[in-house]
């Protein structure tokens, strides 16, 4: 069972390139005709739309290959005061030692949000990190394990957490 998207409870996030998902369209070969390239672009847009709808609705039935089980990243909600502090630090100039760059941002948000990874032996231990104001987060070794599997996982989760936190604002 996949936990539905929620604004209060933990929910499941599925990586877009999980091998259990339906394969994305294959790139046309070099020298492909314009029609073939157009068809590919259309197929990519359809695939991407389908993926977005799965994320929005939590209904993954048509996207998961029958008999396969994707990894489920259980995400919680980042404490808003931590998120504000992080957002402010991303706006600092690159020369500031307090600046948080894009790569570090993705790791940090993933660590703050990640509660569990279902379908693997990876155990997520959450504890206060003295290097980050004592914020409770997943430990760095979990991120290292994910990076070894596929470095894009952390970027995708980080981007998701960032956009979700920014999307929900009465001023938006």
């Amino acid at each position: 069972m996949i936990r539905l998207p929620s604004l209060q409870r933990p929910y499941d996030f599925i990586y877009s390139k999980d091998p259990a998902l339906k394969k994305p369209p294959e790139k046309p070969a070099l020298g492909a005709t314009d029609d073939e390239v157009d068809a590919y672009r259309k197929a990519v847009a359809e695939y991407s739309g389908e993926l977005t709808a799965c994320r929005d609705t939590g209904k993954w039935d048509g996207m998961i290959t029958p008999g396969e089980v994707p990894l489920k990243f259980v995400l919680g909600h980042v404490d808003r005061s931590a998120f504000r502090a992080i957002a402010d630090r991303t706006a600092l100039p690159d020369t500031s030692p307090q600046h948080i760059g894009d790569a570090q941002l993705a790791v940090l948000l993933t660590r703050l949000a990640l509660i569990d990874v279902v379908g693997t032996d990876l155990k997520i231990v959450r504890s206060p990190d003295p290097d980050w104001n004592g914020w409770v987060m997943a430990q760095q070794d979990a991120i290292d394990r994910l990076d070894m599997a596929d470095i894009r996982i952390v970027n995708e989760i980080g981007a998701h957490v960032w956009l979700r936190a920014f999307d929900i604002s009465p001023k938006a």
Binding site: L4, P5, S6, L7, Q8, A45, E46, S48, G49, E50, T52, A53, D56, T57, G58, H77, R80, R164, A165, I168, S169, P170, A172
Partner: protein, 109 residues
Amino acid sequence: MQPLQRQYLGCGYLPPLDDRKRLTMWQPPSGAKGYRGPDPTVCAGYSTTLPDVREVALAHVHWSKGNLGAVLGEPAHEHLSAAIVILDGQCNAMQHWKMTPESEGGGGK
């Protein structure tokens, strides 16, 4: 219904049309006292049935009776609280529109 028709109606299950001007989906009532927010990007039937939107609608009912904490069993996360504020603001705006006569830009008699 054909996929292209659904795209014209802003179906969230299909890729958005390149030309947004050709969308013919439902829009909130506009006019002088009408909706002033950003244009909807998907069909209202899609967005209003999303799990987190339904969660907010339900939470809003309990929140309006001062009972949200008891129902959740924990303090509401700021994401949920912010979404409730958005929904409540829009509910008030809709009621105001409905109570304002049509001659003054509202939707009332």
